[in-house]
Each structure stands twice: as C-alpha cells, then as structure tokens.
C-alpha cells in the first residue's frame, strides 16, 4: 500500500508541477511578505527587523496563505470529479483511499512549500537590508540570533500541523462536490463562518483553525523581549491538528468510497 501511495503521490507532484496555480499561490504570498515592508520597514535595527518577520509571517501565511492553501486543496479532488479525469487514476491498481492520501500528502507538501517561501523571503529581506543580531533590552541581549532563528524554525515546523488539518479539511470538502467553484466557496465560507462564531459560542479551543497562529506566539514574544513557553500550546496544536486531520481524511475517504464515478 505504501508503494502505491508513493507512486500516486509522485503522480500528483508531477501534475502539480505543471499547474500554474501552484506557482501563482507562491507568488501571491511572496508579494504579501514584501508588502509588509510598507507597514513594518526594515531599518538596520535588530528589534524592528525581527518585528518585520513576526508581522510578515502570520500576515502572509495565516491570512493569504491560508486562503491559497484552502483554494488549492479544495480544487484537488473536485476538479477531477468534475472533469472525469479521476477515472484515469482509479481504473489503475490504486484504491480510492490511497488516491486521497496521495492528495493529502500533496496538500501538505504545498503547505510546506508556502511556509518555506514565506520564511525565505521574510528572512532574506532583513538579512539583506536590516540587522538580525538578536533582541536586546537596555543594551543587554535577551535573545540571541540563534534563539530567534530556532524559535522561528520550530514555529514553522509546528505550523505544518494545523496547515495539514486545513489541507485535510479542504480536501474533504473537495470530495463532496464535482464543482470546483462550489468546493472552494464552501471551504472558504465555512472556515470564515467558524472564525466568526467560534468565540461567541465558546468552541474556539475545539476548532482546528484556532491553532493556526499558535506556532508563531513564542517567536512574537521573543521579538518583544518577552520569554514564552512552547508548552502546553505545542501539545494543543499537535493533538488538535492530528485529530482533525484524521477525522477530515476519514470523512473524505468515506465520501469518495461511496461515490459512483460516472463521467
């Protein structure tokens, strides 16, 4: 089964590499990072330059990046259902759940790609035009450049967990309709609706989208010269994301398995 999933994943990667939207999404979030310079310019001042990274990363990744990821993943299955190209894959020796897991892996790879693109640009700009020597307070170094880099890298890695849940969510929606527009609209709409109602309904701790910004809290605190702990937030992020990824994937598999694939 793993060999078949791997083959299907490479099949998906090959297709993704030829799709324009794959690159368009990356370009959009790179532009978003660069645009953050208008609000938080770099100035050869270490605090301000870390503040640029702390500002640009969530803006690019958690707002626009999230929309790009949801749009991308919501089209992964619905487009194939709509056009009928899904039949090309599913008449081959490949089970439907393997096909979906390959799609999920592609979604997660895309999330990682977006994160890597944001991280690269967010750090390259201050490295080139600013000063990243650590965070000081009253002339004393509170967090060294290494501390800051480590906090950012761990945050970026941790961010892949909620992004994986978001990818699984969008793919689940994608299996429910043949219309790419309906899939994207529903996925984005439900996500926005959840964000509006989760606090009044006091369900925020149980909603997967709540934890999208959590991985960056430690880095943001460090930027302000404040210490912060990774735990228990890391545990919440991981448990919530893994549970939701599993649930969304299971629903997607169930939905696709029961679907009759007429062209």
């Amino acid at each position: 089964m793993i060999a078949r999933i791997w083959t299907a994943y490479r099949f998906e990667l090959d297709k993704a590499a030829r799709r324009r939207f794959t690159y368009l999404g990356v370009v959009l979030i790179v532009i978003a990072v660069a645009s953050a310079l208008l609000i938080r310019p770099v100035s050869r001042d270490s605090e301000a330059d870390y503040a640029f990274i702390a500002y640009a990363t969530p803006i690019a990744l958690n707002l626009l990046g999230l929309l790009v990821l949801v749009t991308y993943c919501a089209g992964l299955v619905s487009t194939e259902l709509g056009s009928g190209s899904i039949c090309l894959a599913l008449v081959r020796p490949l089970r439907r759940h393997e096909f979906l897991i390959a799609k999920l892996l592609l979604g997660m790879t895309y999330a990682a790609m977006l994160t890597a693109a944001v991280a690269t640009i967010a750090w390259v700009i201050p490295l080139a035009f600013g000063d990243l020597t650590g965070v000081t307070y009253g002339g004393e170094t509170v967090f060294t450049a290494t501390d800051m880099t480590a906090a950012y890298l761990f945050g970026a890695l941790l961010a892949l967990a909620p992004q994986g849940a978001v990818a699984a969510y969008a793919i689940m929606i994608s299996t429910l309709t043949r219309s790419t527009g309906a899939a994207i609209g529903s996925a984005v709409g439900i996500l926005l609706m959840l964000d509006i109602v989760k606090y009044p309904l006091r369900i925020a701790p149980f909603v997967f989208s709540t934890y999208i910004e959590t991985p960056w809290r430690v880095f943001t605190s460090y930027c302000d010269g404040l210490d912060a702990n990774w735990f228990p937030d890391t545990a919440y992020v991981l448990v919530n994301s893994v549970v939701y990824t599993v649930v969304f994937t299971a629903i997607a598999i169930l939905s696709l398995s029961r679907r009759d694939l007429h062209t």
């Binding site: 078949r4 083959t7 099949f11 297709k15 007429h262 062209t263």
Partner: protein
C-alpha cells in the same frame, strides 16, 4: 476458451431508479461483445461497474475467474478502460498524460506505441487542452491500450471519430481480438459498426438483459422478404399475387419486393422459372441488427 467476464445478479440502484436489474451474463476470452440498448438502458452503468468506478448495489462480478472487488489491484492492470467522453489533464501533453497513467500502474511501457496505434504520434507533444473531440477519443483509446490489456471495456469507442478514424479503430479492435485474443466488451449505438465487429450482441432494456445472441446468427438471410430482378415485373407481380403462399408484392424501381407467408425463397424461384420469366435475381433480404433490436424491444 475460458470465461473472461461473469456477472451474477448484478444490480445497481440510484435512489428510486433501478439502473441495472439482476443482470447475469458471461463473456468468453477473445470474444467481442456489444451491450446494446436505448439511452438509459443501463449499458454504461454496467460497464462502469465492471471497471470498479461504480459500486453495484447487489450481485457479483468475476473477471478472469476472480471477484473484481476483492482482487481489484491484481485485475485492474489487465483491463483497459475507455469511459464515455474521456477526460485528461488538459495542461499536459498527450505523451505526458499517458506516461502518468503508466506510472500509476507502475509499468514500463512504450507510450509512443500506444499513440502510434491510434494515429496520434504526430500530436504527442501537443497539450490535450487543444485536442478536438476525435483526438481526445483516440487518446482515450491509446490510454486503454497502453498496458497491453487482456480485456478492453469501451464505452462508445467511436464517439466523435470521423469515418476514417472509425474504420481504423474498428479494424484495430477486431485485430486485437483475432490476433491477441483480447476480450472486448463495448457499448455502442452504431449498429452498422457493431455488425462488423462483434461476435455477440447483448440487448439491455430498462436494466434487464433481454437477449444475448451471436451476431452471425442474427444477420442471417430472411427468406420471407425477397427481392426479385425479373424481365416483366408487372405481369409477374399479378401472377404472384394470386398465389396463396405470397403475402404481398410491391414493385419498386423495376424490382419486385415479395413477402412470403413462409421462409421459402426457393419455392418462389421455382415458380417464376416454371412460369417462363427471365429471372436474373432472387435475393433474400439480409436481416440487420436494427431489425433484431426492434423485434426484441417489440417496436
């Protein structure tokens, strides 16, 4: 010759609609069989169930002696499938599409050979998004033939093809069945195409199998309906109308179209010769698949 496809009490229900009803039939290895029926008769649903794309509500499918759903991973590489209106990844070239299909099956195949067989080799580097309907259909066939399958399941294989393309594809399919013993199950409305290609014709109506007969038996001569080429058709018509074994006589373009009460064209020929007419032809009409189809459907 063994059994290639065997369905038993195959049933598919879409909500309140019974698309396929208790369908039991067999296809032997190397046979070419056509599923024939009106629109919505259940032909495509049956084919899709045989490819695993549609799940039966009840019944079982056995291909090469194995249950399809339990052994899908081992059976599917042996089956080439062409669905109706085949879809591809438009942003990839014809060659790239087929290479991806081969990769999914984890088989090393010569993609160009499949493209050449369907006459698409010259378009292999063109993106599929710019293909015409006929070219897409050809690519669909190339995709079905890609892994040199032992069984081909083809839904409307000549759909969208020009007359030349149609005859090429039909010749290719017949060749595959004759030379490589490939079993072919198709669904086609093109009765004249089916007549020349298929060994057997299965007629499906409202999801049920009404008949499954050998094509050569169905296309035998009908000795009740006889065309007569004769030197004095008007006089011969009058004489024939008086005979008790003649049901009707019609003159059309200088020829007689005679309907006999029994299948006995010989009796007609003997009578006309004995009456002294100069007969140049007594031609029983060949039955067509359309006749048979309409007869089975009581139309």
């Amino acid at each position: 010759m063994g059994t290639c496809i065997q369905t038993s009490h195959l049933t598919k229900r879409y909500g309140a609609i019974l698309a396929v009803d208790n369908l039991t039939f067999e296809v032997q290895t190397g046979e070419v069989v056509d599923l024939l029926g009106l629109n919505g008769a259940g032909k495509s649903t049956t084919l899709y169930m045989l490819t695993g794309l549609v799940r039966p509500t009840a019944g079982s499918i056995s291909i090469f002696g194995k249950d399809l759903h339990r052994n899908f991973l081992s059976i599917s590489p042996l089956i080439g499938v062409l669905v109706e209106r085949p879809a591809f990844y438009d942003y990839l070239t014809a060659r790239e599409n087929l290479k991806l299909c081969a990769r999914l099956a984890r088989r090393e195949v010569t993609v160009d050979r499949a493209l050449d067989r369907v006459g698409l080799l010259s378009a292999k580097r063109r993106k599929v998004g710019g293909f015409s309907t006929g070219m897409r259909q050809r690519l669909g066939l190339a995709q079905a033939l890609l892994l040199e399958p032992s069984l081909l399941i083809l839904d409307e294989p000549t759909n969208g093809l020009d007359p030349e393309g149609t005859s090429e594809v039909l010749a290719l399919l017949r060749q595959l069945a004759d030379e490589a013993q490939v079993t072919i199950l198709i669904s086609s409305h093109m009765l004249h195409e089916v007549e020349g290609l298929c060994d057997r014709v299965a007629i499906i109506h409202e999801g049920r199998l009404l008949s499954c007969e050998r094509t050569d038996a169905l296309l035998s001569y009908d000795e009740r309906h006889v065309e007569v080429l004769i030197d004095a058709p008007e006089s011969a018509a009058k004489r024939l109308e008086e005979q008790p074994w003649v049901e009707s006589v019609e003159m059309r373009a200088g020829r007689l179209e005679v309907v006999l009460r029994d299948e006995n064209a010989h009796q007609l020929a003997v009578f006309l010769f004995a009456a002294g007419y100069r007969v140049t032809g007594v031609i029983p009409r060949q039955r067509t698949l359309q006749d048979y189809f309409l007869k089975v459907l009581n139309r």
